[in-house]
């Protein structure tokens, strides 16, 4: 892939928080790229660092206590970490949109809906007040809000949950950004509304051609929406690849566990869904080796002591798992074509971390 096809590149990002209890390493050496026009999914269970990853792209995490320990984030070739406040504000306002998880609490209760959408244009001199209002009304129509003139003047508490999330999407999209980050946009909505919102996002992607990062813990959403998927666990990427590869050519036991825990059409009556036993690692004291080792049914001695190498399976498909090593026993995880990637290039996990 040519370099300029990527709208966003994360390179070895390490992000931590200072807390009373010590330093929490929320994102530990994460690298990935988002291409123009694609929908990239990030999946993982609660507390795996997916939200922090998403928010640190726009530097939305409060700093302090949050801080970057290393890595770089390139948006259109520019390093977000070195941006001035002004550039950062332009990035947030015009280049990237963000849809938050809970529309109930993400809108300011004391401001009218229209004003909240228009605020995105605040401080810009290239548009007139009238144009701004037109843009706001247009985007409201586009995200499927009916009776926009009336809604424009209403307060958030007068809208339903689904409608609020549409407003959030309108805020994210009103300046037509190249990238929209959706942080579990449907988790707090009813299932029927969820489907509507997901369809809306797909439709908007086709109309406006932006890239989307879709953060979710729901593999169903991934299968429905995404082109490529990143699976995160304990602040690290454990597997990434196309949706096909992740679902049908699973190469990491955690991904396998995730897939096993969702209900499928062919799940027989009375058959139990598999669950992944145990709890995610304590990020105050992240394990030395593979973060998943303690809960992994395939765990080996090496997993506890050494962070796994990254193995390349296809052009798109990578996994961080010792099962791909040449010494590892044959399992359904092991792929013949796995190649360990040189430590320096991309996937090396710092051993002293």
């Amino acid at each position: 892939m040519a370099e300029n096809d990527n709208i966003l590149e994360m390179k070895n990002v390490v992000y931590s928080f200072h807390t009373y209890g010590g330093e929490v390493k929320a994102v530990r050496d994460v690298s990935f790229a988002v291409r123009k026009g694609e929908i990239l999914g990030i999946v993982g269970e609660s507390g795996c660092g997916k939200s922090v990853t998403a928010q640190c792209i726009m530097r939305l995490n409060p700093e302090p206590p949050g801080f970057f320990e290393g890595g770089e984030i390139l948006f259109d070739g520019k390093n977000v970490l070195k941006m001035s406040n002004k550039e950062l504000r332009k990035l947030r306002g015009q280049d990237i949109g963000f849809v938050f998880q809970d529309p109930m609490t993400s809108l300011n209760p004391t401001m009218r809906v229209g004003a909240q959408i228009e605020e995105v244009f605040l401080g810009r001199t290239d548009v007139t007040k009238k144009e701004v209002k037109e843009k706001a009304l247009e985007i409201m129509r586009l995200v499927g809000i009916s009776d926009v003139e009336k809604r424009y003047k209403q307060y958030p508490h007068e809208l339903s949950g689904g409608m609020k999330q549409r407003v959030m999407i309108a805020i994210a999209l009103v300046s037509r950004p190249g990238l929209v980050i959706c942080d579990e946009p449907t988790t707090s909505l009813d299932v029927t509304i969820e489907a509507q919102i997901l369809d809306l996002l797909l439709e908007l992607r086709d109309k406006l051609g932006m890239s989307i990062i879709m953060i979710t813990h729901d593999l169903g959403v991934i299968a429905r929406m995404c082109d490529r998927v990143i699976v995160m666990y304990g602040g690290k990427i454990v597997e990434k690849g196309t949706v096909q590869e992740i679902f049908y050519d699973t190469a990491h036991p955690y991904t396998k566990g995730l897939i096993g825990s969702i209900a499928k059409l062919d799940t027989k009556k009375g058959e139990r869904l598999q669950s992944i036993e145990g709890t995610p690692p304590d990020l105050f004291f992240p394990p030395k080796g593979c973060p998943f080792a303690a809960r992994c049914e395939y765990a080996m001695d090496v997993c506890k002591d050494e962070p796994p190498y990254q193995y390349k399976l296809t052009d798109e498909h990578f996994t961080n798992c010792w099962l791909q090593n040449e010494y590892a026993p044959d399992t359904d995880m092991k792929k013949d074509n796995a190649v360990a990637i040189e430590a320096k290039k991309e996937g090396e996990v710092k051993a002293d971390e």
Binding site: K90, R92, F98, S106, T110, E119, Y155
Partner: protein, 306 residues
Amino acid sequence: MRKYIFKRVIAAILTVWVLITVVFFLVRLMPGDPFTNPKLTPEVRENMESYYGFDKPLIVQYGNYMVNLIKGDFGYSMKFTNKTVANIIGETFPFSADLGIRALVLAVSFGLVLGIVSARNRGKGIDFFCVIVAVLGTSIPDFIMGAVLQYGFGIKWGLLPVARYEGIEYTILPACALAFYTLASVSRIMRASMLEVASQDYIKTARSKGLGEFRITAKHQIRNAIMPVMTVMGPTVASVLTGTFVIESIFAIPGMGKHYVDSVSNNDYSMVLGMTLFYGVFLIFCNLVVDILYGVADPRVRIGER
């Protein structure tokens, strides 16, 4: 909105009525009256009692009392027989109100600023200073503050006049003494509220829109953080006005408070009652105004009641 205001007004009227009724019946329970002076002959006593209407049946008294109150007649002072309670309130209340309003403006404006500055600079030196001010302020009763300021600025250093109320420089010490406690509690609530709002999701949304910190603080944070401060404004007004009673007697200001304290020691209870009642009704009115303002400020209240 109209319905909300209507409901509030009805509640306030009901409260005033309950207050008046309670006052009326408490009066009849009160021991000792100004006629227990041994120098008065029984005849004079009787005359006075009939003059004040104490010989009529209770229900008639209650009716008269209500009618008189509605007419603004709080009765006659039993000591200063030539003056009505309404006269005295009319003469003295402007001083108390003037002092109270100055103190209130001082307390609320500085309290809010202190709370905002403190929350914006959390954990830094200025925040520490504000927290100290808040804790100290809520630990010093206003009459002590009054005495200390009077001693320090008035007597020891001679910077400001010690007593009376004859010009702007006379108002500084009593207003500060009165404001300090309220200032501290307002700043405390505002700081807590600012920090609470800062962690809300919509602040993150605002940040994600690329807004500057100033705009986020002014338009999103302060606007929402001020709500809890407004809910305590009623009691705050009450505490400032209560404070005027003691501050006035310390600084020899000819307001309601001074008369009130005198009347208490004189057992001039038609005076005390009249003033208490006036004060109570006034505070209920202030609460009503605060409630309505709150409704205007918070769209959830405004429309939720429609």
